[in-house]
Amino acid sequence: MPQHLKRLIGVFAVFIILFLILHYLLTPSSFGELGHYRAKAIPENAFKELHYAGSEQCSKCHEDIRKDKAIGFHAKLKCEVCHGPGLKHALYAGQFKAGQLPDSLLLYKPAERKDCAICHQFNAARLKIQFDTINTSMIHQINAIEHNPFDKITKVEFKCIECHNPHQP
């Protein structure tokens, strides 16, 4: 074998060995266990902070409201749809007396007109809503600007919840 080929083979061998060492050192331990990715990335993704508790948690303390809600139009509505994420509230509110909750544990109480209008404002895309054949109903739609906006005498803006009970509309 000519001299220059021998040298070339030597150089190639050095590079290949170097590549294998680097490849071994730089590949994470769980890479390739399940596929072309780090298998440990699945538990890393799976352990993150939760915010929404689920409606079963709410009825543990607020059973009265669940009963109220169960016979109204909003029976299927989960509490957190309107009140926002409540896992912290569900976990820690039990330690405090009623009315003494710190602000960080208080949930949002939607009272403004815009809160109700987010679902009930008239929109053409909401017209043809037809639920299951068993429960055929349409969502109640209003024009939030025209629907009883002011008290005619005092000119104070009406809130929806002054006439409608949101738990039993």
């Binding site: 699945i42 929404y52 689920g54 809503i129 639920f131």
Partner: protein, 254 residues
């Protein structure tokens, strides 16, 4: 004058050719060619998550979009979304208007007068968790992948932020997180799934327009929904193996 005799005789050429072609044919019978173009079959065992969305039931309240942001700490700026709602309006003259003000979180305002509207509907959008996702195929470092349960995830510690997957996703479901510099997307709330809870957007949908379930479980809510409705995926011609099925999907939706 006859041409010079070729170095390889005709007999030898056919011999070698038959061995090579026949060898490939025999070998492929043992390990069939797994082209990326062919959508993967769902695994026979274990969970295989899928999503159903009933467009007829969606009232466009945008609660799914806001719940997603709150649950997963998605940046509040109006161009980072893992889940969002679009309103499609088809006018009488055939023009199509697509709106999604802040992903639908603040509610929708009807921008076209009612007498000009032929039809209008809301389309909630999110990651399709494709079985053969284009975003996974283009990742140069293996930082995005499909779990054995059919969830497409991102490995934040491994992502180099090259943005290939953002371009590859035909549904526009990925974005670069402004603080981390890595790509971010819907995880199907895997942190809730491991605790036995539903993903946040399914949990709070007020009209139950979103159905979440296991495609491998014949008793699941999702399979019931798929059996009882005429469902379709978005962009079926791309053969992404999408697992997000819409009921009453119009051809205008892209």
């Amino acid at each position: 004058m006859r041409p010079a005799k070729p170095k390889v005789s005709r007999r030898d050429f056919f011999k070698a050719g038959t061995i090579i072609v026949g060898g490939i044919a025999v070998a492929s019978a043992f390990t069939p060619y797994d082209a990326v173009l062919i959508a993967a079959e769902k695994p026979k065992k274990g969970k295989w998550y899928g999503i159903g969305i009933d467009i007829n039931k969606c009232i466009g309240c945008g609660k799914c979009a806001s719940a997603c942001k709150l649950e997963n700490n998605v940046p509040k700026a109006p161009f980072y979304f893992r889940s969002w709602v679009e309103q499609y309006t088809i006018k009488n003259d055939g023009t199509i208007i697509v709106e999604s003000p802040n992903g639908g979180i603040d509610g929708f305002k009807q921008s076209v007068p009612t007498n000009e509207i032929f039809k209008s509907f809301f389309v909630p959008k999110m990651c399709n968790h494709c079985a053969k996702s284009p975003c996974v195929q283009v990742c140069p470092v293996g930082a995005t992948f499909e779990t054995p349960e059919g969830i497409v995830l991102v490995d934040e510690n491994y992502c180099i932020g090259c943005r290939y997957c953002v371009q590859a996703c035909p549904y526009g479901c990925r974005y670069i997180h402004p603080d981390k510099g890595t790509v971010d997307k819907c995880t199907l709330c895997i942190h809730r799934l491991v605790k036995g809870l539903q993903p946040a957007c399914f949990e709070i949908c007020p009209t139950e327009a979103r159905i979440f379930g296991d495609l491998n479980d014949p008793e699941s809510k999702l399979n019931y929904f798929l059996k009882n409705h005429t469902c379709m995926v978005i962009k079926p011609h791309l053969n992404t193996g999408s697992k997000l099925f819409y009921n009453a999907l119009s051809s205008e939706v892209r």
